[in-house]
């Protein structure tokens, strides 16, 4: 009886959540279904009609995926994407966490101004920085190299990451730090042993987003690395599938899912860090 009442109480919640999820899923579902259809069918009938029409099902095919996956250089492109994305994410988060910690818990002149500058920099369109930065890279002879791209992505990702982390660090309770310092902890110990462990959920979210943006980037790679097959990440390879007039856009359906696999794995594996209790438990003590 009580369980029923509980269920009834939550019914509107279930309905809203499931409805929203359905709306959100529909476009991607359309893409998924389409990725299994032959090119000529995409223009002939709506993707949703194929689901309810069993006589259509034999026409579903893996050809699009075959064309995308077994293309020359695809393995190399996956590898390049990792070579670009993983170090970038680690470097960005480390630098951002250090800076955010100082901005949240250290007193010094010009702190607010610095913070303002950091937030202001989020709005800089990175397209405007390409020419000056590329000139600098040429001078340093790191254009066309992976370290160059790591640095560039880190620079572009930092402002938002510092901002997100600074906000979270700043919300940690003061007593925590005070008791730590009374116990004789150094600022760096407090950062390493206190701030970082307490901030796992936000660090995990920040890592996911930085990973995603770098993984999906096309422009920065093209400008600083170039379009050579040897260094091209997945996005460059996939955009090359389409043809200069977009004649093979149907391949994008399969390509989109191929490029989404890794970010989704990252998201799922970091999901467990979002669970409740990390901060709540700490606050109790």
């Amino acid at each position: 009886m009580r369980r029923w009442r509980q269920l009834l109480k939550l019914l509107p919640v279930h309905l809203v959540v499931i409805a929203l999820a359905a709306i959100w899923l529909t476009p991607s579902l359309g893409l998924l279904v389409s990725s299994f259809r032959p090119r000529q069918d995409l223009l002939a009938s709506g993707w949703w009609t194929t689901l309810v029409n069993p006589s259509y099902w034999p026409r579903f095919t893996l050809d699009n995926y075959r064309d995308v996956l077994f293309r020359q250089g695809m393995g190399r492109a996956f590898l390049n994407s990792f070579i670009i994305t993983v170090p970038t994410t680690l470097i960005t988060l480390s630098i951002a966490a250090l800076a955010a910690y100082a901005l949240a818990w250290m007193n010094f002149r010009g702190r607010q101004l610095l913070l303002m500058t950091v937030i202001g920099l989020i709005v800089i369109p990175l397209q405007m920085t390409l020419i000056p930065v590329l000139r600098m890279f040429n001078a340093l002879k790191i254009s066309g190299t992976f370290p160059g791209v790591w640095l560039a992505h880190t620079g572009y990702g930092l402002p938002l990451m510092i901002y997100l982390l600074r906000n979270f660090f700043g919300a940690l309770p003061r007593e925590l730090f005070e008791s730590a310092f009374i116990d004789g902890a150094s600022p760096f110990t407090a950062f390493l042993r206190l701030t970082l462990p307490l901030s796992v959920p936000v660090l995990a979210s920040a890592a996911i987003f930085q990973f995603l943006w770098v993984w999906n980037d096309l422009l920065v790679s093209l400008v600083y690395l170039g379009g050579f097959a040897r260094v091209a990440p997945l996005t460059v390879q996939l955009s090359n599938l389409v043809g200069s007039r977009g004649q093979d856009w149907h391949l994008l359906t399969a390509a989109a899912f191929v490029s989404m696999i890794v970010p989704m794995i990252v998201f799922f594996s970091l999901q467990r860090y979002f669970v409740r209790g990390i901060l709540a438990g700490a606050l109790k003590g």
Partner: protein, 416 residues
Amino acid sequence: MVKRLAVGLLLVGLVAGLAQGAVTIMVLWSGAELEAFQKVTAAFQAKTGIAVRVESVGRELPGILATRVAAGNPPDLAAMPNPGQMAEFVARGALIPVGGIVDLTQFPKAFVDLATVDGKVYGIFISADLKSLVWYNPDALYAEGLAPAHTWNELIYITQKLAARGKTPWAVGLESGAASGWPGTDWIEDIMLRTAGPELYDQWVNHEIPWTHPAVKRAFELFGAIVRNEAYVYGGTTGALSINFGDSPAVLWDKPPGAYLHRQATFIKSFIAGAHPELDLDRDVAFFVFPPIDPKWGTPLLGAGDLISAFRDTAEVRSFLQYLASPEAQGIWCGALGKLATNVNVDPGIYPDKLTAEAAEILKGAEIFRFDASDLMPAAVGAGAFWKGVLDYVSGVPLDRVLADIEAAARAAYGP
């Protein structure tokens, strides 16, 4: 000081790059086009031992190339987005003249002239597309008791006849993602050539006549007479604006046909084949030349082409340019893709199908040939205001306002 140091390091970098005995080329081709181009570079390497590193940056080429040039880091050679952009790079002093490197007598004068800035030639066309074509499904058109048009009046007659029977005469698709509108500019250019003649056309390209000129207005109006007529176009004006240019001709081969005529360049053939793999291209697909309007100007042809320019003058670059211009390279390139060769010595036997060979024959016999005007104008007009203007006009904005808007953009772009 820093600048000097930077320049010094840059020079060291350049010299290091040159020593490799290789050339780099930036292209926008991808998919089948990139594969075909790699066949060309492989043949070149087999012949000369010079390696070609192909950098494919896709449709973002204009932006990437401009950035790399401005930052002092251009490739050895690059496919130019169009002659207008080539002229921009010449104005920045980035390109080397190719006149002394390549034997230009192998090309029709029209193509050499298009790559000429201030008397010097800065690029070579390795292939061309013919734009003045109206595609049709022979079975469907003849079933209606109609035949290809040889004059504008015949074309209008076919259009009206079909509409009167409750059929839709034209399939038009102006959507092309970020480049939406360009198929409409091709229509207007073709009409402009046929109603105002090549000289006024050139003046229009150079902004020596304003966009509000009666001749420009007339070209828009003739285009609008077909495309703005809800009964003449598949899906009406909303259809013309919404349907992707590559998807649009497919309905000609639907059963029953959704439309009967489609004006587009030679490259549309691959889209038709993609949407209807069952078709026999030599039998089921046909085109006629966009018919003359004012008899005074005959049947001029509109086209576009693939232009290659060089940023550095080295022995390897020279040798590669010479090879790209040769009938051998063009045979590989055009044979694989069904593009039209520009070298007059190319054997017509290279073409993969009857349609392409026919188009190549038509292009060769051109009395008046003009390049796609929007590719020659400054990008702010040719790849900006003109595209937008076409879309605005078809979507119902009054023509005078459309032309005034383009004129305003043109004044800013061409300078005083």
